[in-house]
């Protein structure tokens, strides 16, 4: 047991006490923290929206993607096709025309495969 425990404790102490040398940190991304994504997908700056909310669509490769807004019954109430580049794509969801409700946002690649999903609540 001691053999197992000691490496765990050392590991925990090392990472909790180590200081970060900011001079070697990679340049800050221009993507706001609330829109940061580590994998391909879709992320909103906030799940609440009134007239407009920013979203990040992140892709591994450039592609023509479709963003669908879907209501509870499964009906697609809004669908957009957009040419997106590899990496982060900061876009908008314009919500003024949408009736107040909660919707799913789904992201599809050009092969019509779903590659991301999130929720939006209209205030």
């Amino acid at each position: 047991m001691k053999r197992l425990l000691i490496p765990i404790i050392l590991f925990t102490i090392f990472f909790s006490c180590s200081e970060v040398d900011e001079s070697i940190v990679a340049p800050k991304s221009s993507i706001p923290a609330e829109l940061g994504l580590n994998t391909i997908g879709i992320k909103l700056a906030s799940s609440f929206a009134t007239n407009e909310v920013k979203m990040n669509v992140r892709l591994d490769d450039a592609d023509k993607v479709t963003i669908k807004i879907i209501d509870l019954s499964g009906k697609v109430v809004s669908s957009e096709s957009v040419e997106a580049k590899a990496g982060d794509n900061i876009l908008s969801v314009y919500t003024k025309a949408l009736p107040r409700s909660s919707y799913e946002l789904k992201l599809y690649n050009s092969n019509n495969q779903q590659i991301g999903k999130t929720l939006i609540n209209l205030l």
Binding site: K2, L5, G74, V76, S78, E80, S101, E104, N121
Partner: protein, 522 residues
């Protein structure tokens, strides 16, 4: 040493579970009509939750939610939202336990079915000044006249996030499905139950009860209203205001502006089809039931004729009919024209609903129909009835429907917002679309039609709502498949993309046999 080892591991494994519970604040016994408070409490363990989202369903024959009764209790540094959807039920993922609320959420394939017995609701909380914990929300419900209150309120699925991005292992509940026990029923009550089509908001209607004389005749010069009240989401209303052994006239009446899409291409085409589809001798009745004959006769003259069909077509083409006196059409700026009566003989229009309550807990089943609503899309479903002129029916062809796919896609092309409608179904005599757009960002430039040379195209533009489509009233020509409609907008402000700028209200079509085709928007 073992204790230390556990101490290190516990934060990673044990406290990542979130518990959401529901309870009834008031203790029983209860009686029908009582108001109860359902409270939602969250135990986040040691997690610093900054966001919590919950969907649930409740049996709307058992309880009725009191409007605007949702309260949130996590302080001022929160953003909250409550939504509900009437007449839907959640179909859980059968491969995941119903109590695995987070896994049900993560499974993604959420499925809801139309179900008049259930309503769906959603709570969302985002908190900035501390962890979401304890009592998060409460709502008030009225107990309805029902016999089984088991599992009347069920949690469906949930999601949460933490401020430090700590992983949440699960969201569960110790009271997943809520019961109500010891409920006593009302006596001397009368229940009205109104049938309505799937997806229709029946709460936009009242039951109005008027006193009559001993022969069931209302003195319309001085009508005495015995009772008026709105229907709930199940189309029910209970009252103890009526006297036994006394005659009343019971009516279903609208209590707000009529929905704008009651009359569509399906109704107009059905009217034209009825004019020409009268058998070899051209002598068959226009419609199978007296009710259809009555609501098709929108001019309310001797009988249905071609003038009625043209008024229906004019209505969908956007012609202003408000100056035409006496039209029985659900127009926004005119008094609603409406028919109601007992469900059991409604199709024959034998008579209005004259009731005489005698016993306790009597139920009266009522139906209603809008003038011109020949596909009964916004009226009580037409069921077995007494047919006109010797025809026997089990259900009318009006309610035969099929499905076809359509898509409405937007894109930003050379500085313009282009909306392309794709429709590949064949054999369609008519199609109609209604979309809204963000007029603070877009200006309509053009609508182009490529629906074929022999169909009549139409479009109306009312503020930020566009209605457009095509119809061939003879049914000889059909709508060309492909991309029959294209809308072009000019942006008023610079745009990066178009998501949400265009919103689809509905899409519908009718085939050459006058059967409704529901267009599924993909």
């Amino acid at each position: 040493m073992k204790k230390l080892f556990l101490f290190i591991l516990i934060p990673f494994f044990s406290f990542a579970q979130v518990i959401i519970d529901q309870s009834i604040k008031e203790s029983g016994p209860y009686k029908v009509g009582d108001i109860i408070t359902i409270e939602y409490r969250l135990n986040p363990g040691n997690l610093d939750l900054n966001y919590f989202w919950l969907r649930y369903v409740y049996h709307n024959n058992a309880i009725e939610m009191i409007p605007n009764s949702t309260e949130f209790f996590q302080g001022a540094s929160t953003q909250v939202a409550y939504y509900h959807w009437n007449n839907y039920n959640f179909r859980s993922n059968p491969n995941i336990g119903v109590g695995e609320l987070l896994k049900q959420y993560q499974s993604g394939g959420w499925s809801y079915s139309n179900d008049t017995n259930w309503n769906v609701a959603q709570l969302t909380i985002q908190r900035t000044d501390g962890p979401i914990s304890g009592l998060i929300a409460s709502q008030k419900y009225k107990i309805k006249d029902f016999t089984n209150f088991d599992d009347m309120h069920k949690l469906s699925f949930a999601d949460a996030t933490t401020r430090n991005n700590a992983q949440i292992s699960s969201i569960g509940s110790t009271v997943l499905w809520l019961d109500l026990n010891n409920v006593s029923r009302l006596v001397s009550s009368v229940k009205f139950k109104v049938s309505f089509p799937s997806g229709y908001d029946i709460t936009k209607h009242n039951i109005q009860v008027v006193e009559t004389d001993a022969n069931g005749v209302v003195d319309w010069t001085n009508p005495k209203i015995a009772f008026v009240g709105p229907l709930d989401t199940t189309g029910e209303l209970i009252t103890d205001k009526l006297l036994k052994n006394k005659k009343y006239l019971a009516m279903v009446t609208p209590n707000s502006t009529p929905p704008s899409n009651i009359i569509t291409v399906t109704d107009a085409y059905k009217a034209f089809k009825a004019l020409t589809n009268r058998g070899l001798n051209n002598s068959d009745p226009f419609f199978a039931t007296n009710l259809e004959n009555s609501i098709a006769n929108v001019t309310q003259d001797q009988s249905f004729d071609s003038q009625d069909a043209y008024y229906l077509f004019a209505n969908i083409m956007g012609v202003n009919l408000s100056s035409v006196q006496g039209l029985m059409l659900p127009l926004a700026n005119m008094a609603p024209k409406f028919i109601s009566g007992f469900t059991e003989n409604f199709s024959s229009l034998i008579g209005r609903a004259i009731i005489t309550p005698v016993n306790d807990n009597e139920t009266y089943n009522l139906s209603f129909a809008w003038g011109g609503d020949l596909d009964f899309s916004h009226s009580s479903p037409l069921v077995t009835g007494i047919a006109s002129k010797g025809l026997s029916i089990n259900a009318t062809a009006n309610q035969i429907t099929s499905n076809a796919d359509t898509s409405i896609n937007t894109s930003l092309v050379n500085g313009k917002v282009i909306v392309t409608i794709e429709l590949n179904a064949t054999g369609l005599a008519g199609a109609e679309y209604k979309i809204g757009y963000d007029d603070s960002k877009l200006k309509l430039e053009d609508i182009t039609f490529d629906s074929g040379n022999t169909v009549t195209n139409f479009s109306t533009h009312n503020e930020n709502i566009l209605t457009f489509g095509s119809m061939d009233k003879t049914g000889v020509s059909t709508i060309k498949v492909g991309n029959p409609y294209k809308l072009i907008f000019t942006p008023k402000t610079p745009l990066t993309n178009t998501s949400g700028l265009i919103f689809t209200y509905f899409a519908e079509a009718v085939d050459t046999k006058a059967n409704k085709v529901i267009l599924n928007i993909k």
